[in-house]
């Protein structure tokens, strides 16, 4: 593309008052080589935009450097098809956060223009990725429970085709075992009508149903998945575009429970799941002799919220016990029903069911540590009531129901890390000795659900407790495998009402995915991005850093260890680009060379000018907006910093630091997201990887006789904007102590 660059400087919002615009225009003209430099008092207004459009049409401008507000605002106004647009953030990060009219402020603005020019110079318009094979828009649904059935129904309703695979002989999932359900509006209990959902799905022409079947193999990526489904000896192959994973849950194994809960000591101590089965098979009776129930106790948190057993709250067991208690009260009103609970957790409107149970006369005892004493058929529960401060004894119980929790099916199976270790043990000894970065492995269990042919493992990586989601608050349904969306109890413990919603939600995500992929666009979180990583394979050394580090397992590998990128699986974060020691991975509009040029374009004053320079590589998802917010609140910070946004800090290549320091830049600050269990990285572990890489750079720095203090890594959340000025000022102060970079002027 023949580039014709035009620079537009907006003087509105205080930019014109803080900066010498004329001087800035000169920089754009002379140093940035802009063919056209214009200023406007309100560039985002109708008149301003009309001017830009006019220049594109009449002057043949195809590269626009818009020096105005943050790229995080007005992005829809400054979007011009077929043009390269770069936004220079003169408002939030210069005019609003620096001293107006100051020499340093002016220098900062000028540097940002140079950086932008360097960026545009290295950018090419992205071309969408089109796989060779035809893209399928069909959606595979794994699991025929409430969530899976709903997903299939919704997919069909939206005009797409669905393939539903259920392991059991019949559709319906766990709900098949359930007689009564607790759902909206939670005023009472209702008959289970999963059968009508099963009928809807079975009759639907858009849905192909496999029961008693399993997925043997899943190959490919979004749009081009090839799924082998084994059913009664035969294997069928389907091409699908996206997958909804609603494989469900298993009840926590009661045999693992603390013996003081009495499981196994009397036939009259059962679990909530056994209660459901009992009701379905002829009603609630005393298990030992089929007698009527006069006294029943429910014990909540049987294993849940116990770090030794099931460390999390299963969220449905309270509602389930309420449902079962109400059932007993409705069938035998004279029965005494007790619920012994730690805390009653009835999310959402299920609170009404709690109230209903109270009205029915169910007695609630708050106790952290109840004890079941069983002698033959006679069962007693002793519970220290928190509110009374005394021990309550429930005698002559006909039935004790232990409310056990939900375990996702993905939490079963061997740890894939062990499988890999076994495989490696077979390989030659010296390969094991290879010097490798210690990248923490994802928790993948061989649970035999999807059997992905992915280099990083055959199933979805778990985040915590074996749940395969990637961020349950910010990004529901997302997993760490692109195009595969978790729904229902495999995603998080939930009741039927939530499972219906989940099925529909995940179906919508899957449809979004196939549509985006068919246009060559990225899905969440860089939805719509048309760039994708390209590998310059001639220089690849088969080091496997990219295949190891990709947070989404997007890159497979051939036998020789060459990476086999699967662009439709890619989220375009650039972690592979940051990981590659040979720097052979680049995007059309984001590359190692481009960032290198941007860093090199920063003007470094001579040592005697006493104007140090700090390059800030900031994650554009959290750190960059936090810097904007600091400006928005008119917080001022150090004038030596030059911020360069990163798609993800994980795309930080060590060469950037070398580039900066060899240019005479005094220090490099990396601003990434928080990582660990409560991570907030959009790409799961980008900032963590950047930090790990940093452990290597310090050695290099020491070898170059450069102080390792010159590079600092900080994590910030978007809400940490108030801490940013201090972080930046502190770093500047440290650098002052270290002294100027000796490479200045080289």
């Amino acid at each position: 593309m023949d580039k014709k660059l035009a620079t537009y400087i907006c003087t509105g919002c205080g930019i014109g008052d803080a900066l010498d615009i004329e001087q800035l225009s000169k920089v754009a003209q002379k140093e940035c080589k802009a063919a056209l430099v214009k200023t406007h008092p309100c560039l985002c207004g109708q008149e301003g935009v009309a001017m830009l459009k006019g220049d594109i049409q009449n002057e043949g401008v195809n590269c626009l450097m818009i020096a105005a507000c943050s790229p995080r605002v007005m992005y829809d106004v400054f979007r011009f098809d077929g043009c390269l647009v770069d936004r220079v953030n003169l408002r939030e990060q210069v005019a609003w956060s620096q001293k107006p009219g100051d020499e340093d402020t002016q220098m900062m603005a000028e540097d940002y223009l140079r950086i932008s020019a360097a960026k545009i110079g290295k950018m090419d318009p992205p071309e969408p990725y089109k796989p060779e094979e035809e893209i399928s828009k069909d959606i595979l649904i794994v699991g025929g429970g409430v969530a899976g059935l709903t997903a299939a129904k919704e997919v069909s309703k939206a005009g797409y085709k669905a393939v539903l695979v259920e392991r059991e002989k019949e559709l319906g999932g766990f709900q098949r075992k359930v007689a009564k359900i607790a759902t909206f509006p939670y005023k009472g209990i209702k008959d289970n009508d999963v059968e009508s959902l099963v009928q809807d799905v079975s009759k639907d022409g858009n849905i192909t149903v496999y029961t008693g079947a399993k997925i043997e193999k899943t190959v490919g990526g979004p749009g081009v998945f090839k799924v082998s489904i084994a059913q009664s000896g035969a294997v069928k192959e389907h091409k699908v575009g996206a997958i909804v994973m609603a494989a469900g849950w298993k009840p926590y194994d009661p045999a693992q429970l603390d013996p003081k809960l009495g499981y196994g000591q009397s036939p009259n101590v059962i679990t909530n799941v056994q209660f459901e089965e009992m009701v379905k098979n002829g009603g609630a009776k005393r298990p030992s002799d089929g007698g009527a129930l006069a006294n029943v106790a429910f014990l909540q948190c049987a294993g849940q919220r116990d770090p030794e057993k099931l460390p999390y709250c299963s969220s449905v067991c309270c509602t389930t016990s309420l449902k079962q208690a109400i059932f007993i009260k409705e069938t035998s009103p004279e029965a005494n029903v007790f619920i012994v609970f730690k805390e009653m957790r009835t999310p959402g409107q299920a609170e009404d069911l709690y109230r209903r149970a109270q009205e029915e006369g169910v007695i609630f005892i708050r106790c952290q540590d109840p004890q079941v004493k069983a002698s033959g058929a006679g069962v007693t529960v002793e519970a220290l009531d928190d509110l009374l401060g005394e021990t309550v004894v429930l005698e002559d119980l006909d039935l004790v129901v232990l409310a056990t929790g939900m375990v996702p099916v993905t939490a079963f199976g061997e740890d894939y890390a062990q499988v890999r270790a076994r495989m490696r043990a077979g390989e030659t000894e010296q390969k094991k000795e290879e010097e490798e970065l210690e990248v923490p492995q994802d928790a993948i269990l061989v649970s035999d659900i999807l059997n992905l042919e992915y280099r990083q493992g055959p199933e979805l990586p778990g985040l915590r407790y074996g749940f395969p989601d990637s961020h349950f608050i910010c990004f529901p349904y997302e997993t760490r495998r692109t195009g595969i969306y978790a729904a229902g109890c495999v995603r998080r413990p939930m009741g039927v009402a939530a499972a219906f919603e989940d099925g529909a939600g995940a179906a919508m995500k899957a449809i979004q995915c196939v549509e985006m992929v068919s246009q060559g666009k990225a899905v969440h979180p860089r939805a719509g991005d048309m760039s994708f990583p390209e590998f310059f394979m001639q220089r690849c050394t088969q080091c496997k850093r990219c295949t190891e580090e990709c947070p989404f397992g997007a890159i497979n590998e051939d036998e020789k260890g060459n990476p086999l990128p699967q662009p439709t699986r890619c989220r375009r974060c650039g972690v592979c680009m940051g990981a590659c020691p040979e720097r052979i991975i680049s995007f059309k509009n984001y590359s190692v060379g481009m960032i290198g040029e941007m860093i090199k374009s920063i003007e470094v004053p001579e040592e005697d000018e006493e104007k140090p320079r700090i390059v800030v590589l900031a994650c554009e998802n959290d750190a960059y907006p936090a810097l904007d917010m600091a400006g928005l609140r008119r917080m001022s910070y150090n004038a030596w910093v030059r911020v360069i946004p990163m798609r993800c800090l994980g795309s930080m290549n060590l060469i950037f630091i070398a580039d900066a320091l060899s240019k005479g830049i005094d220090g490099v600050l990396l601003l990434g997201c928080k990582y660990g269990d409560d991570y907030q990285c959009h790409f799961v572990k980008g900032s963590e990887l950047a930090n790990i890489r940093l452990s290597k750079v310090k050695e290099t720095l020491d070898r170059l006789v450069l102080e390792s203090d010159r590079v600092r890594f900080e994590t910030v959340a978007i809400s940490d904007y108030d801490k940013l000025p201090k972080i930046l000022d502190d770093f500047a102060e440290t650098l002052e102590g270290v002294g100027p970079n000796p490479y200045k002027g080289f």
């Binding site: 005494n336 007790f338 009653m344 709690y354 109230r355 109270q358 009205e359 006369g361 007695i363 609630f364 005892i365 708050r366 002793e382 009531d385 509110l387 009374l388 005394e390 021990t391 309550v392 004894v393 429930l394 005698e395």
Partner: protein, 405 residues
């Protein structure tokens, strides 16, 4: 110590008006907003828990229900709609029936049919007795003194008062025994004596009630209380001018006008005669109070009036009718219509007497004793514990076990 839950108590309490108590999930907002709840005697949440768990013994030992004046703050602030104020009211009804050893109270509370029958039967007995035992009916002039001489009525009053006191006092004794337990004899008499004036003060002023946010209830109650007490003194004590049986009378205080043989009719007091004025005050005060409460209960205007048990209606209706028939007797007598006066007088007593005999020892009205005594005993206990603590502070090793108590 372990506790056995009795799920049947809540079912039983339904007869006493319990509706929403089971909905309580023990957040404690009620106790937090209650201006009367104190650290030593927290309520209402604690009592709701006792009720939910069916802890009858603990309820019997609690005097807290009588320390609550039902301003309704708790019910208004309950996030659960569990109406803790009403639960306290229910517990007062229940406890009244528990203190009563005859079992009559329980029947009265739990069966509306029994309640109405009891009132009717007592009324009829009164009516029949009045028709059987009377003096001379003067058909020329309305003379109550001739028909039912004050001296005779006074004897009847005394009989009624002794029966009533016997039942009330025995019940009160049981109430004290339940709530005080071992402390009853452990606390030295001098502490009881030193707090005695509090008992009178609480009886006369219900001063705790003044701490409630809604003071209207307190004022209305004071009107009714002072009105009725005045009426009671006039009718029961001063009917014949004192204790005529013992010859202790003072004519000017005599409530029932003496018959003047010269005039041939009962003497009328001048309009501004203190006794007449007191009578008017009593009438008006009770009329205002009872009417306010009746309208409130009809309209369910505020929390304390939202739920009305049969006994609440019975009490107010009898009170209102007593006042109305009382006014009617007064007017008819002034108009000098003999037959109507006598008839109305019989009717008046047919209403007033059952109210006293049934309500005071066995039902709602017994609170006139339980409330001031509960407040008084609370003071006694606090003083006692303060002393015990003071002693152990001086001699820490002396008797730690006692401090525990």
């Amino acid at each position: 110590m372990s506790i056995k839950v009795d799920p049947n108590l809540m079912k039983d309490l339904k007869h006493f008006g319990m509706k929403d108590g089971s909905k309580c999930f023990h957040c404690g907002n009620c106790t937090a907003v209650c201006p009367l709840s104190e650290t030593g005697t927290p309520f209402p949440r604690k009592l709701v828990k006792y009720a939910q768990m069916g802890l009858k013994e603990k309820l019997l030992q609690s005097s807290e229900p009588w320390l609550c004046y039902y301003c309704g703050n708790c019910s208004d602030n309950c996030p659960r709609g569990a109406d803790p104020g009403e639960t306290m009211m229910v517990l007062r009804r229940y406890l009244t029936s528990q203190y009563d050893w005859t079992g009559f109270s329980r029947k009265f509370y739990t069966s509306e049919k029994f309640e109405i029958m009891a009132v009717i039967v007592t009324g009829l007995i009164v009516g029949v007795l009045m028709l059987l035992i009377h003096g001379e009916f003067d058909w020329q002039h309305a003379s109550l003194e001739k028909a039912w001489p004050a001296h005779g009525m006074e004897i009847a009053d005394l009989i009624m008062a002794s029966i009533l006191s016997f039942f009330l006092l025995t019940n009160v004794y049981r109430f004290i025994k339940f709530t005080m337990g071992d402390l009853l004899t452990k606390i030295p008499l001098r502490i009881y004596a030193s707090q005695a004036k509090e008992l009178v003060l609480h009886f006369l002023t219900q001063k705790r009630w003044a701490k409630c946010e809604d003071r209207t209830q307190w004022v209305i109650h004071l009107l009714m209380m002072t009105g009725y007490t005045t009426a009671f003194i006039l009718v029961a004590v001063l009917l014949a001018g004192g204790l005529a049986v013992l010859g202790l009378t003072w004519e000017p205080l005599r409530f029932q006008r003496p018959f003047d043989p010269v005039l041939g009719r009962d003497i009328e007091y001048p309009l501004f005669h203190p006794i007449r004025l007191l009578g008017y005050y009593a009438t008006i005060a009770v009329l205002i109070g009872a009417t306010y409460a009746l309208i409130g209960r009809f309209r369910k205007s505020k929390a304390p009036y939202k739920n009305s048990h049969g006994t609440d209606w019975m009490f107010l209706v009898l009170l209102e009718l007593t006042v109305i028939t009382g006014i009617s007797v007064h007017i008819l007598r002034l108009l000098d219509i003999p037959f109507a006066t006598y008839a109305m007088y019989i009717l008046h007593l047919m209403i007033a007497v059952p109210m006293l005999v049934l309500e005071v020892p066995f039902s709602k009205w017994s609170h006139l004793a339980y409330r001031p005594i509960a407040a008084y005993l609370k003071g006694v206990k606090e003083k006692y514990f303060a002393e015990v603590q003071g002693q152990t502070a001086e001699a820490p090793a002396a008797e730690p076990a006692q401090a525990e108590a």
